[in-house]
């Protein structure tokens, strides 16, 4: 097999495994901040119990995120050396910012979050939780900036760089802020955040729903469930708007990607339909068994029913052909799941308002397994974004006349000296390690969930102990007063 395909498979395997954890950490980070804040304000021990429980779960996910994250950083160099030489100058600032502002912050304060309960004050512990949550969000900022630059390059230009008399082209920075705020950064960042919040919330809902179905830790589970339900509802509703802006942005800056998402092979003369379902056939260049709304894509892109949207037939000369079937299905699966999340969370909110939420066992069962759908939605969303960008690893930019220039093709980006045998070997190694890690992850999560929140936790009695201390102090004072007499 060829080294490009193998390297792409390895990247897909390692990044999809890694991406199980970061959105979960971002989402759960927010849940932790909320719970610990409530504990600080209300002193209600149930919030303390809840914070401690979700901190344990958070710790398991964080460790796996770090372990699988180092692989990603190394892999740019090991498998994609030509790409690294091409983008190094542009990624430089983003990577430096991620290291300095995010990694140190997260991992440093994580120690306090996990092990510092008995060593620091409540306020400082809350501060540490806040810093860990902030660190994971900062991290997402810089990695999305770098990835968005690959999708819609800005603030950079191509320059000839010379090594020992050998010249080659690479991208160099021109304007830092134009690079950071390239046309897709903000839209994609917001999209990633809402997806992460939805996942984190649905993760907490899954575990809470399970407790409710089993009749365990009822009070704890109800509060975790409803709090997270609110977050999931807001995030998945907001995702609808964010998704719309992203589609508009893709239509403008990556027209071939949009055409692949929509299975839009031929431009045609009249309005372009929007497929809700279908089976794009790349040989015959048509969508089979499609269910479509006539003219709807034209409406979304051009704001009228009749103007045709440019199809792949007119785009492939300049942009090449992205794999249509995979782009179409991953994109449609993401949207379908998003709609399902909106419908199910709204239904749950409605039932909550009517007071029947916790009687609907089928709904609770749905939410027990719903988290796996949220994982799928996060993964296929990224798959659509990355597959739709092909055959480019760094997308070219279109000039005013429509001609494209710049960019780097994926086939040209792999390491010069790495052989397919080596990559096959490392895929097998990663496959084996990740299978083991996955089993371990499920096992440990399951164990933590079965054990449940620590009700006997000494710290959960904090307020009682505080009041006891108050009594003792009062007595001592009284005794002192008597003696003085």
């Amino acid at each position: 097999m060829d080294v490009v395909l193998l390297s792409r498979c390895q990247f897909a395997l390692t990044v999809m495994f890694h991406y199980l954890f970061p959105p979960l950490t971002i989402g759960l980070g927010l849940v932790l901040v909320f719970l610990e804040y409530r504990w600080l304000r209300t002193n209600d021990p149930i919030y303390h119990t809840a914070t401690k429980f979700w901190t344990k779960i958070f710790g398991i996910n964080f460790a796996l995120g770090v372990a699988s994250g180092i692989v990603m950083e190394f892999q740019f160099g090991t498998n994609w050396a030509v790409y690294s030489r091409f983008v190094g100058d542009v990624f430089g600032s983003a990577l430096a910012a991620e290291g300095i502002f995010a990694f140190f912050l997260e991992s440093g304060f994580l120690a306090v979050l996990l092990y510092g309960w008995d060593r620091v004050s409540r306020g400082f512990h809350f501060f540490a939780t806040l810093m860990v949550a902030l660190g994971s969000i900062f991290s997402s900022v810089w990695i999305v900036v770098a990835n968005s630059w690959q999708q819609t390059p800005a603030g950079s230009h191509l320059v000839e760089h010379t090594i020992n008399g050998h010249a080659f082209l690479r991208a160099e920075i021109v304007d830092f802020w134009a690079l950071v705020f390239n046309p897709s950064t903000v839209h994609r960042l917001v999209h990633v955040w809402f997806a992460a919040f939805t996942l984190g919330a649905m993760f907490a809902m899954s575990i809470s729903a399970w407790y409710l179905l089993r009749g365990r830790h009822i009070e704890f589970a109800k509060r975790s469930f409803t709090g997270s339900l609110l977050l999931a509802t807001l995030a998945s509703l907001a995702q609808l708007g964010s998704g719309h802006f992203n589609a508009e942005m893709v239509a403008e800056h990556q027209p071939a990607k949009l055409a692949a998402f929509e299975g839009h092979f031929r431009t045609g003369e009249s309005g372009t339909p929007l497929y809700l379902l279908g089976w794009p056939d790349e040989q015959t260049r048509e969508v089979k068994a499609g269910v479509a709304v006539p003219g709807a894509l034209s409406l979304l892109v051009h704001k009228d029913f009749r103007t045709p949207v440019t199809g792949l037939d007119r785009l492939q000369d300049s942009y090449g052909s992205p794999p249509v079937w995979l782009s179409f299905q991953t994109y449609h699966l993401m949207i379908g799941l998003g709609m399902l999340f909106i419908a199910s969370t709204l239904w749950a909110c409605w039932s909550w308002w009517r007071g029947t939420l916790f009687q609907q066992r089928w709904l609770l069962w749905y939410f027990v397994f719903g988290v796996s759908l949220a994982f799928v939605a996060n993964e296929v969303g990224w798959a659509a974004a990355e597959v739709g960008r092909q055959p480019w690893i760094v997308y070219p930019t279109a000039g005013p006349d429509g001609a494209v220039s710049g960019g780097l093709q994926t086939v040209e980006a792999v390491s010069e000296v790495v052989t397919s045998g080596q990559v096959l070997g490392s895929i097998i190694m990663f496959g084996f390690i990740y299978l083991l890690l996955f089993i371990l992850w499920v096992y440990l999560l399951n164990r933590a969930i079965q054990r449940g929140p620590d009700v006997e936790d000494a710290a959960a009695l904090g307020p009682e102990i505080d009041s006891l201390r108050g009594v003792v102090e009062a007595q001592t004072e009284l005794r002192g007063a008597f003696k003085a007499d």
Binding site: I70, S84, I100, D118, V417, I433, L437
Partner: protein, 339 residues
């Protein structure tokens, strides 16, 4: 001083930070199987439990900074030494998993298995880092475009393996000094008895590597002829090495550990002096070397990165110190232990 040199120095700072910090927890990992019984082993892990993750971030940041400041060197090294980096990843992941998950269940077999993984992975990672530094000193075959053209077994030359041995003994010593600082009671006394042995092994490796370097790598000493002031680094190195037993004999385990940190730091400085201005030395064709000038990002990027580093580093140093302060003191399993 130009921006390229500044980033060469900053990479040195990151590498020294990594070697000092992860050095002791790699050392603890290698010594792990010598601890007797579950309580002692848990104590070992407890001494590094809250901080190993932060220590490893120095490596991640070093890798990121190398990519950002000198992409040509990053691409050549990581793709050229493909198999080595896969082994490093294997070792680091296995270590992380062993550390985090060993104490999650009561089963003795589960714990024993992860203890062995922890020890082997720490040893493998240290050895690979040492061999890597050895090859940086010897130089590796590059073509005129600055791409590695050797194979895996070219990396296993005698000199590099000797430096691998130095890394193993140095981190064993560094780790045992750290444990000596962080343990109490019977375990403290046991660790105290290892100090002499790990120190002796380190000194033997140190002398061997110094001799081999003078003998086989003439370009390593070129800098010293041009700038005699660089001998101060050698003096610092020797003083730090001698300072360790001096401090220990007086019962100052804290100062002995500081001397050990300085020893590690001096080695990184010596490496930098021996390499300068190269990042990847080409051998035999020395003119193909990747230097801090031909392998670098543009001046504009180096400048922006410097601004970011200057803005962020005071905070990093500030809160990292606070966190180390929070977890100061000796560790005895039983009180508030999470491992």
């Amino acid at each position: 001083m130009d921006l390229n040199l500044t980033w060469f120095l900053l990479l040195g700072v990151l590498l020294a930070g990594y070697a000092i910090l992860d050095g002791f927890d790699l050392g603890v990992g290698m010594l792990h199987l010598l601890a007797r019984g579950d309580d002692q082993r848990r104590t070992f892990i407890e001494t590094i439990g809250p901080i190993w993750d932060g220590n490893e971030v120095w490596l991640v940041t070093f890798g990121g900074a190398l990519f950002a400041a000198f992409p040509e060197a990053y691409a050549t090294i990581f793709s050229g030494f493909y198999f080595v980096f896969m082994l490093v990843l294997l070792a680091l992941i296995a270590r992380a998993v062993a550390l985090e998950f060993r104490s999650k269940t009561e089963s003795a077999a589960w714990r024993q298995a992860w203890d062995v993984v922890f020890c082997l992975a720490s040893t493998l990672a240290t050895l690979l880092f040492g061999v890597g530094v050895g090859n940086a000193m010897v130089g590796v075959p590059l073509n005129e475009r600055g791409i590695y053209i050797g194979g895996f077994f070219d990396l296993l030359n005698p000199y590099s393996l000797l430096v691998g041995l130095l890394a193993l003994t140095m981190f064993l010593m560094h780790g045992s000094l750290y444990l000596h600082l962080k343990t109490t009671g019977e375990l403290h006394a046991r660790v105290g008895r290892w100090l002499g042995r790990t120190y002796a092994m380190f000194v033997v490796a140190y002398v061997l590597v110094s001799g081999a370097t003078l003998w086989f790598i003439p370009r390593a000493t070129a800098f010293f002829q041009a700038y005699p002031a660089a001998w101060l680094v050698v003096a610092l190195n020797v003083l730090a090495v001698v300072g360790i037993p001096y401090a220990l004999r007086r019962g100052w385990s804290g100062r002995a550990f500081v001397a050990s940190c300085l020893t590690v730091c001096a080695f990184v400085l010596l490496l930098g002096l021996a390499l300068y201005p190269n990042l990847v030395t080409s051998s035999p064709a020395a003119e193909n070397s990747l230097t801090i000038y031909n392998a670098a990002s543009s001046q504009k990027t180096l400048w922006i990165m410097l601004v970011i580093a200057l803005l962020g580093m005071p905070f990093v140093i500030g809160y990292t110190s606070i966190i180390y302060w929070v977890f100061r003191g000796r560790v005895a399993v039983g009180e508030g232990a999470y491992h």
